[in-house]
Amino acid sequence: MVDSLHRVLGLSDEEATKIGDILKRTPNPLELAMYSVMWSEHCSYKSSRLHLSRLPTSAPWVLVGPGENAGVIDVGDGIAVAIRIESHNHPSAIEPYQGAATGVGGILRDIFTMGARPIALMDSLRFGSLDDARSCWIAEGVVSGISGYGNAVGVPTVGGEIDFDSTYQGNPLVNVLCLGTLPKDRLVLGRASGIGNLAVLLGSSTGRDGIGGVSVLASAGFSNQVDVEKRPSVQVGDPFEEKRLIEACLEIFDSNLVVGIQDLGGAGLTCATSETASRGGVGMDVDISAVPQREPGMEAHEIMISESQERMLAIIEPNNLDLLFEICAKWEVNANVIGRVTAGDKLRILDRFDGNVLAEIPASSLHDDAPIYDRPKKKPEENKTVSSEKLKVKSDVVSDLLSLLSDPSWVYSQYDHQLFLNTVVGPGYDATVLKLRDPVSGLETNKGLAITTDGNHRWCAVNPRVGTKLIVAEGVMNLSCVGAHPLALVNCLNFGNPENPEVMWELSESIDGMAEACEGFGIPVVGGNVSLYNESSGVNISPTPIVGLVGKIEELHRKPPGFELLEGNRLVLLGPSHIDVGGSLWSALHGLNSGELIDVDLETHKVLADLVRSLVSDGIIDGIHDLSAGGLGVALAEMVAKSKFGITVARIPDALSLFGEGPSRVLVSINSENVNELLSRAESANIPTTRLGLVGGDRFIVKDLIDVPKETIDLAFLTQLPNALGVGTVSA
């Protein structure tokens, strides 16, 4: 019986044999269940670990790199920033609201586990196309879930991304990034040490939530038609519990009560207890009868792998227990001693502290001995090149432009993006800008933090290596557009089934592209998350790496320019003119997803980013927008839609010039008196410039190509999402 149990739990025969070798005996079902969740793709990164090691992770300002719950960097003034991004794709596919909500809850815990107060969330979302009713239902539910949880837990959601494409039909992507600040000396790590110390479980009681969620939900694709009864039980988030948990934990850290702390996420108690023990080089005894249970009759393995939300495991010295209980009582947070740190290296699960041993495993074997796979890779057949001629014939410039416009404000107006009085530039622009405050006194430092998330599956589908480089480059330019220089990157790698060699090739290429860009720009990767098996009905999603970049603004004394167009402004395009249609939003609109991607020249890009940053911080320009999906046409239209005036531009001969995409291009609007200053700065930096035209009037005019009222642009921009998604569900 037991030898087929491992397969039911998702362990391969080789993995089962390896477990037998580690234990030097046959594992019992509880032990097997614990290995199965910890050795799942989700927890062990068994398909990606080998490749992730190629990413650059160090810089003098990095305090904690990948491997802990979140990356931490030093931003000066005694302040550190913790940052992390994580996916909640599969849960969101079956219960959009709760899937997204618990995704927010999970990433928050990763941040306050480090001793940081979470001050900002960002969400990067991908759904099937807007004409698919189920995709709209999912999108609506996900946005409501992020809104419902994020707002109530009291952490502002200050930016993100949203995109719709049939590649995500049945498998949406929900990636959430969280950033927190902490006094540099309050850094807390997830380790247990000190024999005799206690493991205290804080927060919610444990139910049968997400049992098997880790191995079943996150590690195996599922088809669209899941039998309702067989669905694993879904986790429900409780933002109120999490809010109290945040406040209690921060007060506990301030009182210096913990030796280490760890959030409970995937694989629940199994992961938290074994990870703290193995990081501290100790063992741990866990008394499952001390775990408060929400439902009667729970079995040991259910308690050990439950993914009930809003729980933390604190390791404390016994003489601090009363103080800890006191703080928890103040915040109405349950606290129960469930474990003891022991000498040796064994994680033992007991039915009482002096009772029967239900499982006994070397704690570190759950992590360190997890399999690492070098899965076969295979480059897919060459893509056929899209002919821009074919596109030109097919396209009507005006209607194409209008179809490419979409204002995400329908999304972010549902998110509190202002709490904590930090948000100088909120969602809706190239990057978000927050005031950097002292995390203890709340006093302003007159410096700023900038955050952006970027991804583009169209580029990565054409060329995952170059596409990923371009995404990092876009993030860097987005930071420059608000006057910030990059300090660190986190990433979430959303890919298909790694057992498919072409998917493995995409993953490996994408990581190489990211490594190359990060090395070129000098940006350390401080954390990330890998989400594989993003497929539905056997079709893999297009490769979708998402990057989050955090940067710093040295002097934040005025609002960065934004998309402002002022009457009489000149419009100038900065950067090389090399563009193509491969991987462009425009070709996707016409159902063509192949072609060539133009590689980014990292040196040129850096020089342009520096130029842009100086233009912004010296206050020379009035408006700015980097060119991305949809090219020059979409950038122009977005700036027009967000300001009061129309434009007249020339030197754009055809649709290709309007919608083609290429790296390192930035559009600025500038007072005529400052144009010479701009041109001379660009010239000395060796950056090409194109004078496009003028701001003014109430029409959107591209000479010989487009002449429509500004209102037409505004309307297309504003109404696309509300028209498609406004209907909504009532579940909340």
Partner: protein, 220 residues
Amino acid sequence: MTATVGVAVFPGTNCELDSIHAVETLGGDGKILWHSTKNLSGVDAVIIPGGFAHGDYLRPGAIARFSPLMSAIAKFAKNGGPVLGICNGFQVLTEAGLLPGALQKNNGLKFLCKTVQVRVETENTTLTRKAEKGMELSLPINHFEGNFTCDLDTLNSLIDHDRVVLRYCDNPNGSIDDIAGVCNETRNVVGLMPHPERACDLLLGSEDGKVLFESLLGSN
């Protein structure tokens, strides 16, 4: 003269530090009042700030209004003490019966975070005495349940007694008669859905909230 403003904190409240910040920017002193206390420690005014007291479960404000702090605040208000409820604080005050009406889900069933224009409708309250009637203010809103509702008799009485404090210029949530804020009969208790504490700094977009806090700070 420095006014001390007590800022109520229930589990789930989240705008308390922002409110204290606004009070202190304008020269007042902010002081946290924990929900389990009955002691207002001599504050000159009370703010019940925004957030999700007790998770907003059941109804926003339904659980919070039973706290010991709320009985102390009711007594304080009865003695003429200025009390300001912002957003969730407004909801708590209606649940506690210190203000009329109730706040339902927004029309359209979406949470709304954006900046709106509101008009000051009366100068005769502790929150608006330094403002001018008819003045338009640019203030952020941030709520799911901000749709003010009451029966017609109550509405008529609010209008007849000049108790509508703020109205939306462009109603975002379906509130009856565009009402964004109301006061009690004695005009010392005011509740409003917009967040004036988010509008006290030009770098964040607006300074229009300052006049309201100035009124509150100088109002006893």
